[in-house]
């Protein structure tokens, strides 16, 4: 199966390069993280050389109302581990597991301190204007958990714009109803953006069970609401004040897997995240002070399993950043942050507190003659109870010619253990070591123009990522499960992306391609599982391909989105696997104007080939489904 898959991929690339040679290439996925405006000045100034894929605004516009998880699985060659409709969906970047990538909103890390991951199935695309995926270790810049990469969510703030309102209504044949409203307003000093989105999803679809019967997925209904409000006020020419609050609640029934007869499990989550930020931006120096407060609650129930658990976590954090500019060529930065987490989790045996802090230093240099950008980041985090490694990183971006850009980076990265790892009774170990990794990466991008009609870019990245002290819950003596720093993992791979924009015969459009080859294998282990060495990590596909074709003419547009996810092993000894699957989605719509309003009506066919598949073993996913999506802009 694997050999056949690899053969297909090789032939696929022959096609790919032949066509590219004749046509042209466009690639816009390698760019500076500078596009992520609100993640503070630090990331804007000290991110040269990192690989960032900004999700195309056209694709984001068409996928309004979808979850971030769905958007990424269609538009990016990273793998999303989806536990079926109603279940969580988490990000896996560069062969790492879900807890080794972080998700940021306006610079605030959304990773739950108890679980160490973020569920992307609960976050709607409707509430963000900028979504970008950074690949590769960046702990020296972004802190704990950025071993595989990070996802950044933000919304642009616009001053001096008339009030603009967007209303979204959509419905699909599997019983998913979405409604949302978004408001942008501002004058010369104040900008506001607010959004609210509600989702009622019955997940009403049938799948073929292992008796060969068509069966409806039971106990899969979910309801969620989310609202974000952000404001920024210009105090004077140099100072700004901004604030944001995000309320999110989800009530969902957890459906049975295909190997369970039924489920009565249900989960209710609520999160309130707020932040306040002051910035001073002068000619020679700038300051940033930010504070944030996060309140997260979770209630998990199953009468049949005799479970009724309530978790409550509160996080308070403060940050300070300072930057100094020299001759527009050198930027020096330094800063610190502190975080206090209070966890009320029944299995911790009482309230637990975790205190964390960090100091960092950064130096960015732009060579005026060659345009070479280089960045040195140094970071030391501290946390009560264990030592965190000192993390340096060095990245360089070299404009080789007008068309070719090269990047290179080396970094040390880390992830502190989750609070479950440290405090769970029984088994939790407060003295666990943080995970650490060395990341080496290099990339190149080639830009091509053919007149005004064709613009192409192609990028190739290679990387090697060695993770030490990876934490796994393993049974100790007498079968007591406990987290241990037992595993080494070596992930390495090749990532190829291209985008070709075209304008011809009255059509505008693009074709985007992305392919990730991700061997990620277990290394030495000190646990009782020696037969896993050199085996591929579970649920890390070796191959993933995405392709998007978009074309528009006048008011009308269409988009095809195709993805192929390769075989995933489900056992660490690689004795059992899930087959590869391919999905094709189709979108068509038109935009119509009436007075000052515009109406966009869109029809969607998802999983057009009606593939029966599972992302994670025994979690059925929907077959073909149809949706209607109306977006009104006033």
């Amino acid at each position: 199966m694997l050999e056949r898959m690899e053969r297909r991929v090789v032939v696929f690339f022959v096609f790919f390069f032949l066509v590219l040679k004749i046509s042209a290439q466009q690639y816009d996925t390698i760019q500076s993280i500078a596009g992520v405006e609100i993640t503070a000045d630090k990331t804007t100034s000290f991110s040269a050389g990192l690989k960032v894929q900004k999700i195309d605004t056209t694709a984001l516009f068409i996928r309004q109302g979808a979850s971030i998880a769905m958007l990424l699985s269609e538009q990016s060659p990273v793998f999303l581990r989806s536990y079926g409709p109603g279940g969580v969906s988490t990000l896996s970047v560069r062969g790492t597991n879900s807890s080794q990538s972080a998700v940021f909103w306006n610079g605030l890390n959304l990773t739950q301190p108890n679980m160490g991951m973020t569920d992307l199935s609960r976050i709607s695309t409707f509430e963000f204007s900028d979504i970008s995926l950074q690949s590769g270790g960046a702990s020296a810049l972004l802190g704990s958990g950025v071993i595989g990469g990070s996802l950044n969510l933000s919304s642009a703030m616009k001053f001096s714009k008339p009030v603009k309102t967007s209303i979204l209504v959509s419905g699909s044949s599997i019983g998913k109803m979405t409604g949302g409203i978004k408001l942008n307003a501002g004058n010369s000093r104040l900008a506001y953006t607010g959004s609210a989105v509600g989702d009622w999803n019955q997940n009403n679809f049938k799948f073929t069970d292992y008796h060969g019967n068509r069966k409806r997925l039971e106990h899969a209904e979910s309801k969620s609401i989310s609202t974000i409000h952000q404001a920024e006020y210009i105090l004077n020419r140099k100072q700004r004040l901004s604030a944001g609050i995000w309320f999110q609640a989800t009530d969902r029934k957890i459906p049975p897997t295909m190997t369970m007869a039924a489920s009565d499990q249900q989960q209710w989550d609520q999160a309130v995240r707020s932040s306040l930020q002051w910035t001073y931006t002068g000619v020679k120096q700038s300051f940033l002070v930010r504070s944030a407060f996060v309140d997260e609650k979770e209630h998990y129930q199953s009468e049949n399993k005799l479970i009724d658990e309530f978790y409550h976590l509160k996080t308070l954090q403060a940050e300070f950043e300072y930057k100094r500019y020299f001759n527009k060529q050198i930027t020096l930065g330094a800063g610190s942050s502190t975080r206090l987490i209070r966890a009320d989790v029944p299995y911790y045996g009482g309230l637990e507190y975790q205190k964390e802090g960090s100091v960092w230093f950064a130096l960015a240099y732009l060579h005026p003659g060659t345009g070479i950008k280089s960045v040195l980041n140094l970071r030391q985090d501290i946390s009560e109870g264990f030592n965190i490694p000192f993390c340096p990183s060095f990245n360089i971006e070299v404009p080789v010619s007008a068309r070719i850009t090269g990047t290179f980076g080396v970094s040390k990265n880390f992830r502190i253990p989750t609070m479950n790892d440290r405090y769970w009774i029984p088994g939790g170990k407060p003295d666990l070591l943080p995970e650490s990794s060395w990341n080496l990466q290099a990339g190149g991008a080639y830009t091509y123009h053919s007149g005004a009609n064709i613009q192409s870019k192609i990028g190739i990245d290679i990387y090697s990522l060695l993770i030490n002290n990876m934490i796994q819950w393993v049974p100790g003596d007498a079968v007591l499960w406990s987290p241990q720093n037992v595993q080494k993992v070596w992930s390495r791979g090749v990532e190829i992306s291209s985008k070709t924009d075209f304008q011809m015969y009255g059509f505008n459009g693009y074709f985007r391609f992305g392919y990730n080859y991700t061997p990620s294998t277990y290394g030495e282990t000190t646990s009782n599982g020696s037969d896993v060495q050199n085996k591929q990590l579970i649920y890390i596909p070796l191959h993933k391909v995405v392709e998007t074709f978009y074309a528009e003419r006048g008011k009308y547009y269409t988009m095809f989105s195709y993805s192929l996810t390769g075989k995933r092993y489900v056992q660490s000894d690689n004795q059992k696997s899930l087959p590869s699957y391919s999905l094709l989605d189709f979108y068509a719509g038109g935009t119509f104007k009436l007075n000052k309003s515009s109406f966009r009506l869109q029809a969607e066919i998802r999983n057009m080939m009606n593939k029966s598949y599972q992302s994670v073993l025994y979690y059925p996913e929907p077959g073909i489904s149809f949706s209607i999506n109306l977006l009104i802009s006033i």
Partner: protein, 353 residues
């Protein structure tokens, strides 16, 4: 124009090409006869998996993995718990699936699925037409073995688990589920009525009957081995007199934070074996002042005993997400006979009748 054509050609070809990618792997295995074999019940991974059955023929050393799916073309279900052989049939309890799969023991072909259980743990045949299934939800379900349908339930304590039929009674050990219970429920299987609830030690988890019909109950005690906490209680080996239905022997293990598990008895009914303190221990029940004696120092997940060979079967699940192994030990001295490859988290065993 040529450029656009090429782009479209590429898109079309690549989509067509890759869309043909998924074909089912061919199963070339053939069904074999499964008589005279030992069946190993593998739990399967906790959250997303299925239990499996490993077949082992001690005469030929033949091992076949996942025979239920191989024969029946479908997975067994989430968290396989135990298997009991009765009247030529195998009854496999699948906890999270809420089912008991009934198979022909020679062919392993599925004959029926007993449904509508909540968290079933153990199956116990009473006679040709009736069986009990302990269910963690707090009762014992009565199964009609002709129709394979649950007829009614008998209330028990919290987290009923092990069951033992001896004399006129069925003894049910109430483990407490995720909390702690300390009782054994006694059911008269002729009337299906609870006749007594006997107070034993904390977390009674396994039972055997000796040659005199006395019931030996192993109680784990409250807490986890290697994780000392306030409120821990020691394990106990308790004996119940079947005539008076009262406790007439009570051995208390020394440590509060080391907890014994599993319990089997040899064919002479003179020695019991259990897992304790990272090893396999034996306890001579014919002696007045016996104490636990280590016969094999190594941590195991499960334990069973085969009368025919006088061997102990113990399992090592390795890392719990890949395949585990089963070791056979000589009951006499704990020496290793051989090792059998198994599935994910080998938990239980079923020996030929």
């Amino acid at each position: 124009m040529k450029t656009l054509k090429n782009v479209l050609l590429f898109l079309t070809l690549s989509v067509i090409f890759i869309s043909t990618s998924c074909t089912k792997e061919e199963d070339t295995s053939k069904h074999g006869a499964f008589s005279n074999g030992v069946f190993i019940v593998n739990e399967g991974p906790f959250q997303t998996g299925t239990g499996t059955i490993t077949y082992f023929n001690p005469d030929s050393n033949l091992v076949k993995q996942d025979i239920f799916e191989m024969v029946n073309g479908r997975p067994l279900g989430n968290i396989a718990q135990s298997m009991t052989i009765y009247n030529g049939k195998g009854y496999i309890v699948v906890n999270n699936a809420g089912t008991v799969e009934v198979v022909d023991i020679a062919t392993f072909k599925s004959e029926a699925t007993i449904k509508n259980l909540v968290n079933p743990v153990q199956f116990l045949a009473i006679n040709a037409t009736k069986a009990y299934v302990s269910d963690w939800i707090g009762h014992v379900a009565i199964v009609d073995l002709v129709s394979n349908v649950i007829s009614k339930t008998i209330p028990a304590g919290t987290g009923p688990d092990a069951m033992l039929k001896s004399g006129s009674y069925v003894y049910v050990a109430n483990t407490g589920g995720f909390s702690v219970d300390s009782t054994v429920t006694v059911i008269d299987f002729a009337t299906d009525k609870v006749i007594k609830t006997i107070k034993v030690g904390d977390v009674p988890s396994a039972m055997v009957a000796d040659g005199n019909g006395r019931i030996w109950v192993l109680c784990k005690g409250r807490g986890y081995t290697g994780w000392p906490q306030a409120g821990d209680t020691p394990g106990r080996l308790i004996r119940i007199d079947p005539n008076t239905l009262s406790v007439d022997f009570n051995y208390k293990f020394a440590a509060n934070d080391i907890h014994p598990e599993k319990l089997v008895i040899n064919k002479q009914k003179s020695m019991v074996y259990f897992l304790y303190n990272y090893g396999v221990y034996r306890f001579n029940i014919t002696l007045a002042n016996a104490s636990p004696e280590l016969i094999r120092s190594r941590s195991f997940y499960s334990l069973d005993y085969e009368n025919k060979t006088d061997y102990l079967y113990v399992s090592d699940p390795k890392n719990y997400v890949g395949s585990g192994i089963v070791l056979r030990l000589k009951a006499a001295d704990g020496s290793v006979v051989d090792s059998i490859p198994a599935g994910i988290i080998p938990r239980g065993f079923a020996f030929p009748e």
